[in-house]
Amino acid sequence: MPTINEIVSEEIRAQARKLLEEGTVAAVIGYAAGTLPMTVRPLVVRSPEDCSKLIWNTFCVLNLANYLPATLKSVEPPRGPRDPKPEGPLPKVAICATGCWSRNIVVQTQEHQVDRDRVVVMGVGSRGMVSRRKVEAIFSGKEILKVEEGDHELIVQGADFSETINRWSVVRDNCQTCTHPDPVLVDVRIGEPVSERKPPNPFIQVEKIEQKTVDARWAWFTEEFSTCIRCYACRNACPLCYCPTCFVDDAKPQWVGKSLDAVDTGLFHVLRAYHCAGRCTDCGTCETVCPMGINMRMLTKKLNKDVLNLYGIEAGMQPDAPLPLTTYAMDDPQKFMANEVAPVPSMAPATLGHRGPVPGSVKEGK
Amino acid sequence: MISYMPYPVRIDDIVVETEDGNLKTFKLVFENETHAKAWNHVPGQFAMLSLAGQGEMPIGIASSPTEEGHLLFTVNRAGKVSTALHQMNIGDRMGVRGPLGNGFPVDTAMKGKNIVIIAGGFAVTTLRATLLSLLARRPDYGKITFIYGARTPGMLLYRDELKQWAQREDIDLHITIDREAPGWDGLVGFVPTIAGDVAPSPDNSVALICGPPIMIKFTMPPLEKIGWTDDQVYLSLENRMKCGEGVCCHCNVGPTLVCKDGPVFTRSQVKQLPIEY
């Protein structure tokens, strides 16, 4: 009996081959097998023959949407920076996408980084991806040489051991609290759809930190980020981080110092998280790629919670709605405004600004 | 041992060189007499200009070793450090670290040869240093041809000196601007065209070419046509650099380090390198 992911892999290869052979797309973004157990390598396939390299397994932890804008660009006919856009439709790119990655493609479309018409989403329902770190932690001190994947278990092998572990127990934290594992965009369906999940509390990990006292929270933050070596893997693996010049790289003015000073490191992480507010889909890639094992996902997850509570929005779930932080509604909570706190009685309300929707005003504008 | 310590200097004079105000020449005087004595450079070398609180930037040395007692640097206002430098005043303290790099072979390959100097835009700075060095030992060299072009008359650097050089019999001077301009009665045309018109003989000659990459690209064909080879042509490369001493790796072009192996290379050396400059 082939496993679910073996079936998915075969379907990905067949569909990719078909899309490339028919000329529907010029490239397919997927995964190739890695050279170590529990690793995979993102791969852009451009010919039907190379489709045999494509695989799908429970270790596909990198967000492929990160590769989409560059791959779209790479299939366009070459032109100079001032040359006009060529006439007619540009070549398309197919991409394997799970729930969160497809939501990132929605965000990329909303932010005009990606032209939706040029993307063929090969939608794969995610069954949760496994954290290599969690598996390694179980076998601490022993080298894992091979991991065989079943639908619900992993057979972990080393030089002198072979053990079967439950797959879900080592699924990444973000996948365990994921509510939308099935892609929100599907042009080509791969495998079976996966139903919405209802974890009892999707923000349980964040709330554990929120419940701490201010001092304890600060201690958690200081310790968690103290190991950062400023390699920027978290930023570079993130499909939201596409600024041509990141604020940490700006020299004029220089916003952030470059050494490992805790203030600079903390500032980088906090600002990066804020840049992701309302846009992050909790794909967990930042946390996965960190060579130091920092849980920077806690910052973005906290902001995801705030955005959901404040605006009722989850990133990438409403393709037609504007992004929550690039727009406003008249009934947005605005506790930060001074006039909310203490209206001065002697002054006319008009001079203090309004406190509710103004009749006839635009409800939701840009 | 390498030292990252710049020599303390004071800004002794500032000359605004160009009409757009973006190029200024800074005359720097050593604060310490022993540093002034220790300093010894070759034309074509560069130095790190150091501004406390801002950082360092590599700039070609515009003064000739024969101008004793001070250093000249002509700096384009572009990045963080150069912008800060442009805001400084006469009397302010800064630092100079160097001299760095190899420089032009004024004492070796150029000696006894006819010298053709071709400069475009503000790349003329180290070539000014070179010309002054050659003039100080004029009998050591053959014919000197100096071709220099800028966009407009107001963008020419060292205008007073250009006038002086024009008076001399022992320099074949060709100053050109890109387009006709009111009050300009000199040459008009791009540097490659003028170089083709002047057609300096390659016999027993060496050419030094500094300027924007596009200028170098179009200057070579007319020279090659009359027999110039890549070994006779010296270019100066630029790359982002930090240490200037061949350690930090920033300026590498393949295995070559611009700061240490260069910045001066023959054209045949440059052709061996990947185009990463």
Partner: protein, 345 residues
């Protein structure tokens, strides 16, 4: 060369002894702050109590942090108005306090020797070398990602170590590799190693085949243009996310950036780790970037290690520790790159 015999109990006593006079570091088994006066990233300061625990393979962090700290203060100055020395640079006092790094693997010990080639004339690196003693443990076991033998090293190598511990049946034999090593064992009552154990170690070393190091050496003679234009870079550059993880965890990546930092009028010029994977690394002020594309930067890192560095200094700039193989987020495997390069016609 002196070879001594040390029991595990004696090792504990030695560490205790050293920690009285020096800063002693051992590999950290739990998270360590990257910047803190008492730690170095991935290393913890020890007081000698408790036994030394080493995992198989390379230590979690490389020893480069002890020689090339992140950051190193090159100069200090004041920017206080009206201060007579405003803007005048001063060289900081270089620390002379000895640091003893215990638990170093042969691959990392070699990395210091390789980095010493470009840093031969660097006063800070050399000062750190003078004050750092490396106490290493040869590897009885390797990880599947280890390839030191391919890079000209050996799991049993003692090159670059001041003291090299190799396991015997009941303890260790210790090779004293330098005057610094000698100083660490002076005054300790240690017996010389048995002749039989010395012979046994030599025999084990003999058996260590220098795998394919000669084959890899053919890369050095290859024409740069061919390697540079090889088709392997395009897919590699496409997968690479251009983060600095590989360069920062690499013991032999040594490039740096220099910056000024000013806090409340007091300034310092620091150097800190940089990565040729970052676009900013090669960006000109004009906006021109000679390595503006991802593929160019990925290629630069590998060719620097496997071609540019050997061209300048002889050996490859890689010790085969396998850290990048393990930690690359997109599984770019330098072993594969080397094989692909060898296959370039």
């Amino acid at each position: 060369m002196k070879v001594l015999k040390v029991t595990p109990a004696e090792l504990d006593a030695m560490m205790q002894q050293w920690s009285k006079a020096h800063r002693v570091y051992a590999p950290a088994l739990v998270k360590q702050p990257a910047a803190s006066p008492n730690c170095a990233p991935g290393w913890r300061r020890v007081d000698g109590s408790g036994a030394l625990t080493l995992s198989t393979g390379p230590t979690p962090a490389s020893v480069k942090t002890f020689f090339f700290p992140q950051p190193e203060t090159l100069l200090t100055y004041t920017l206080e108005n009206n201060h007579p020395d405003k803007g005048l640079m001063r060289e900081p006092e270089k620390s002379k306090e000895m640091q003893v790094v215990v638990g170093v693997r042969p691959c990392d010990a070699r990395s210091v020797l390789l980095n010493n080639l470009p840093y031969q004339e660097d006063p800070f690196f050399q000062a750190n070398r003078r004050r750092t003693a490396l106490v290493g443990f040869t590897c009885d076991q390797s990880l599947s990602t280890c390839f030191c033998t391919q890079m000209g090293g050996s799991p049993l190598g003692s090159e670059g170590l001041d003291l090299a511990f190799s396991r015997t049946q009941d303890g260790f034999i210790v090779e004293v590799g330098s005057a610094k090593g000698e100083a660490l064992v002076t005054g300790l009552d240690l017996a010389p190693a048995d002749e039989s154990e010395i012979t046994a170690l030599a025999a084990r070393r003999q058996k260590e085949v220098k795998a394919s190091s000669t084959e890899l050496d053919t890369l050095k003679g290859r024409e740069l243009g061919k390697l540079y234009d090889a088709p392997l870079w395009q897919p590699l550059g496409e997968s690479c996310i251009n983060c600095g993880a590989c360069t920062f965890i690499c013991p032999t990546c040594y490039c740096f950036d220099i910056q000024d930092e000013v806090v409340r009028g007091q300034g310092r010029r620091i150097r800190y780790w940089d990565s040729c994977m970052f676009p900013l690394y090669s960006l000109h002020t004009s906006g021109h970037n000679p390595r503006g594309q991802k593929v160019q930067r990925t290629r630069n890192r590998f060719l620097h290690k496997l071609k540019y560095f050997p061209d300048r200094f002889g050996p490859f700039s890689c010790v085969g520790c396998g850290r990048c193989v393990q930690d690359c987020p997109v599984n770019i495997d330098i072993r594969e790159v080397m094989n692909d390069l060898l296959a370039v016609e």
